[in-house]
């Protein structure tokens, strides 16, 4: 190298560095920046909090479960598909033993191999208090899905067997909510979960890159993802918590984010005029009232039916600028087990006649409602409209407004502690048969143990539920579930109001998104134009 060229070397390096800074890293697929409705960043140590939004954006992106949700289509309700397990079946000799065949050749983000031992380790991490890897915070998140789980054993390096308390045909759905984290990384950080949260390792389509506490979380594409059809098309995924709808709208309009969850229905026209794309789809959600079957007006079936007849759901749709589907049953009509339920279409005269027959006119009822909350849509105006419609048909509704967490507490405690409340307005996910139907009416799910808030109980329903849980033939089970859905409508077990349409607003630069009929969404297909 000549003296001259040696002298010019630093200058060349500086020029190269400056060019690199100006141009930035090559980002072919762009950066997808999402304004979430969550109030804080969900944890990255496995099963996240912040409701299903935590699963949607953090859980299923960093991690996989043995059974994953098929989010590739928008036309039909999403169902589970093989994930880290390639198949599962019930043990022919034991109806309480599920066998899962694990996927071979999968590697954790830290390079270790995924094996049956890892699944056993994860179950101890979430459910075995005595194990050194047990994480109480994770147990709290996993608990709702461990209702029938008893234990797990390794059959071979790529096969595991789960033991359940009772025959549970719906067990694979529960398994889909249990995310697998890397034991290798956990051992590396000596089970320090704070450290783990900063260096998480899963098998998911995205790898953790960096985070700013409470502000943003950044993932990068995992080019080595085991499902080659789901290697992310964007380079970077940025998640920002923005609980206030107007803030999200303003952030999207200002270009701070290029995707927002749940814009306010009244902001849609403004967003559209700015060229934003609004995507909606039916999904397994309901905005209903769970009723008090123990005491008060709704213990009488006629009054439950009257309330359902008194609701003008078309008017409600207008209030929401069209962003809802009229709810006439617990699940939307696209659910496989919808069947032909009795539909309580708007008929105020019939409602009045039923109230008169039941001897409850004016019929005083008290609803516990929240001012905001995940999946609660526009709780105040919607509840005010419900009150106005019910009052017009002969009810006398009083609204007991409370903070979202206070309402959730009322919901968890159950009707026994709140006999004066006739109904609670908590939106529910209905994406698997247990959560959609069974938990509302099964005596085994009475609150506080389960979500049957109003303590509905009927020997016929219980018999049907037990039949469903022990029916391992898919078609036969579907027939029983359909019967249950129809029976629930006949009994008017809920005050059915609205199914949310899951609106999101996307910048025109965001391409390739297919909105599945699910609380979860596949972001891997999305690319962002530069």
């Amino acid at each position: 190298m000549t003296r001259r060229s040696r002298n010019s070397l630093p200058a060349l390096l500086i020029a190269a560095a400056a060019t690199a800074i100006l141009v930035g890293p090559a980002e072919a697929g762009g950066t997808l920046t999402i304004g979430m409705t969550a109030g804080d960043l969900p944890p990255t140590t496995g099963n996240p909090d912040q409701g299903f939004e935590g699963y949607r954006f953090v859980g299923y992106n960093l991690y996989d479960s043995l059974a994953l949700w098929d989010l590739s289509e928008s036309e039909k309700a999403a169902d589970i598909k093989p994930g880290l397990a390639t198949s599962w079946h019930i043990d022919e000799g034991d109806a309480k033993r599920w066998i899962f065949e694990l996927r071979r050749g999968v590697k954790w983000h830290d390079g270790c191999d995924f094996t049956a031992d890892d699944v056993l380790w994860n179950m101890r991490y979430s459910a075995d208090e005595k194990a050194p890897e047990f994480n109480p915070a994770q147990f709290a998140q996993a608990r709702p899905y461990l209702g029938t789980y008893v234990g797990i054993e390794k059959v071979d390096d790529h096969t595991v067997a789960f033991q359940t308390k009772v025959p549970d045909a719906l067990f694979p759905y529960e398994i889909s909510y249990l995310l697998m984290i890397s034991p290798c990384r956990a051992k590396e950080v000596k089970y320090d979960w704070t450290q783990y949260a900063l260096r998480p390792s899963g098998t998911g389509p995205y790898k953790f890159d960096k985070t700013v506490a409470h502000q943003r979380l950044e993932f990068v594409a995992n080019a080595d993802y085991w499902d080659k059809t789901r290697v992310p098309k964007q380079d970077r995924l940025v998640l920002i918590p923005m609980p206030e709808a107007s803030t999200r709208t303003a952030a999207l309009l200002a270009g701070e984010v290029n995707w927002i969850e749940a814009p306010s229905p009244d902001a849609l026209d403004r967003l559209k005029s700015a060229g934003m794309r609004i995507v909606t789809n039916i999904y397994p959600h309901n905005w209903s009232y769970q009723l008090n079957f123990v005491q008060g007006a709704f213990a009488d079936k006629r009054i439950r039916q009257a309330a359902n007849y008194a609701l003008n759901r078309v008017e409600m749709k207008e209030l929401l600028n069209g962003l809802m589907l009229e709810e006439y049953a617990t699940v939307p009509p696209t659910a496989a087990y919808y069947g032909s339920p009795v539909l309580y279409k708007y008929d105020p005269d019939k409602a009045k006649a039923l109230l008169k027959e039941a001897g409850c006119l004016p019929c005083k009822v008290k609803f516990a409602i929240s001012t905001s909350g995940s999946g609660q849509m526009q709780p105040l105006p919607m509840n005010e409209l419900v009150k106005s419609q019910l009052d017009a048909a002969g009810f006398d509704v009083s609204l007991d407004t409370m903070d979202w967490n206070a309402l959730l507490k009322v919901g968890r405690e159950g009707v026994a502690d709140h006999l004066d409340i006739n109904a609670i307005n908590i939106s529910r996910q209905t994406q698997d048969p247990f959560n959609a139907l069974i938990r509302h009416v099964w005596t085994g799910a009475w609150a506080p143990k389960g979500s049957n808030w109003g303590h509905y109980s009927s020997p016929d329903v219980d018999k049907l539920v037990e039949g469903i849980l022990s029916e391992f033939d898919g078609d036969k089970r579907l027939a029983l579930l359909t019967k249950l859905n129809e029976l629930m409508n006949e009994e008017a077990v809920l005050l059915f109001v609205a199914h949310d349409l899951n609106p999101r607003a996307l910048s025109p630069k965001v391409q390739g998104f297919i909105q599945a009929q699910s609380w979860f969404q596949d972001l891997t297909r999305v690319s962002v134009a530069q």
């Binding site: 009150k387 106005s388 407004t401």
Partner: protein, 302 residues
């Protein structure tokens, strides 16, 4: 003999001429006099009066039923049909809801302050007059409340007890008692050491008599001024509680609650959405300026 003649004149001729007529006003008269010559206070007092009258006569003034919803005519702008201030997210008349909403806001503004003045003032006078251990017990107990910012305290109390007008008022009352108590205690402590109290005691006046005739008269002024300044704070806090869903229950018209539900519609009818906020602003600033004028008029040093 001019000099002698002069001396012969009746004595009254030399009497000093009567001083120019000066009317000596009493304390309250002079307060009234100062108020009458304070145009800013008068204008804002007139606004407060209008707001109070509108709230009292709401059923006569409101053009529509404030609860009557009509989804087809939701979110209409100013002047749409007969709705001068437009309609809200459920198609209810904004003007009618605004007029009725004033009832709740004034109630939430005045009642907590009134109760806090009575309770806090009494505790302060007792603490200030008794001194010693009684004072320590009362004032240190108040200091505990001082450890929390007022907004946080109101939200925490209302949150713990649940929503509703009653609980909201109770929360605000509890927030206002400590500062009220402190003002009364300071004024009482200052008065207690003065000579005329000693004199009254020396003439055999009992404690109750001294407090009634000599202490309360001196404490009432500062306490009233402070209370009037708290009304605007109370209106703002009450609106804040309703905005957070901890105040009145829907569908009761309330400015804070109206502001909260309408904010989602800001892209559709921005001016209509701003109306409840403007009402809160005008009412609280009016109370504030009237209180300021009152303070100036009642300040004996001026």
């Amino acid at each position: 003999m001019t000099d002698i003649a002069a001396l012969d004149q009746p004595l009254e001729t030399f009497a000093p001429q009567a001083a120019p007529a000066t009317r000596v006003r009493g304390y309250w008269r002079s307060v009234l006099y100062r108020l009458r010559h304070d145009p800013v206070t008068l204008v804002f007092a007139a606004i407060v009066l209008c707001i109070v009258l509108a709230a009292v006569f709401a059923p006569l003034l409101a053009p529509f039923d404030p609860y009557k919803e009509s989804v087809v005519s939701r979110l209409k702008p100013f002047g749409w049909k007969e709705h001068w201030l437009g309609t809200d997210e459920l198609g209810r008349d904004m003007l009618s809801r605004l007029i009725y909403g004033g009832r709740v806001s004034l109630l939430m503004g005045v009642m907590p302050v009134l109760i806090a003045t009575i309770v806090g003032g009494l505790l302060g006078v007792i603490g200030g007059f008794a001194g010693g251990r009684v004072n320590t017990v009362i004032m240190r107990a108040m200091d505990v409340f001082y450890a929390f910012p007022s907004v946080l305290l109101a939200v925490a109390i209302a949150g713990a007890m649940g929503g509703g007008i009653g609980n909201g008022m109770l929360a605000l009352t509890l927030v206002f008692i400590p500062p009220m108590c402190r003002v009364a205690e300071t004024a009482t402590t200052q008065v207690r050491a003065l000579d005329y109290i000693e004199a009254a005691r020396a003439t055999g006046a009992g404690t109750i008599t001294i407090i009634r005739y000599h202490v309360l008269g001196n404490v009432l002024g500062p306490v009233c001024i402070y209370a009037s300044s708290l009304v605007s704070v109370s209106i703002l806090l009450a609106s804040g509680l309703s905005f957070l869903g901890l105040g009145v229950r829907p569908p009761t018209p309330d400015w804070g609650l109206m502001l909260s539900t309408l904010r989602q519609s800001i892209y559709v009818v921005p001016f209509v959405c701003a109306v409840p906020g403007a009402a809160i602003f005008v009412t609280s600033i009016s109370f504030n300026l009237v209180s300021d004028g009152l303070r100036a008029a009642m300040d004996v040093r001026l």
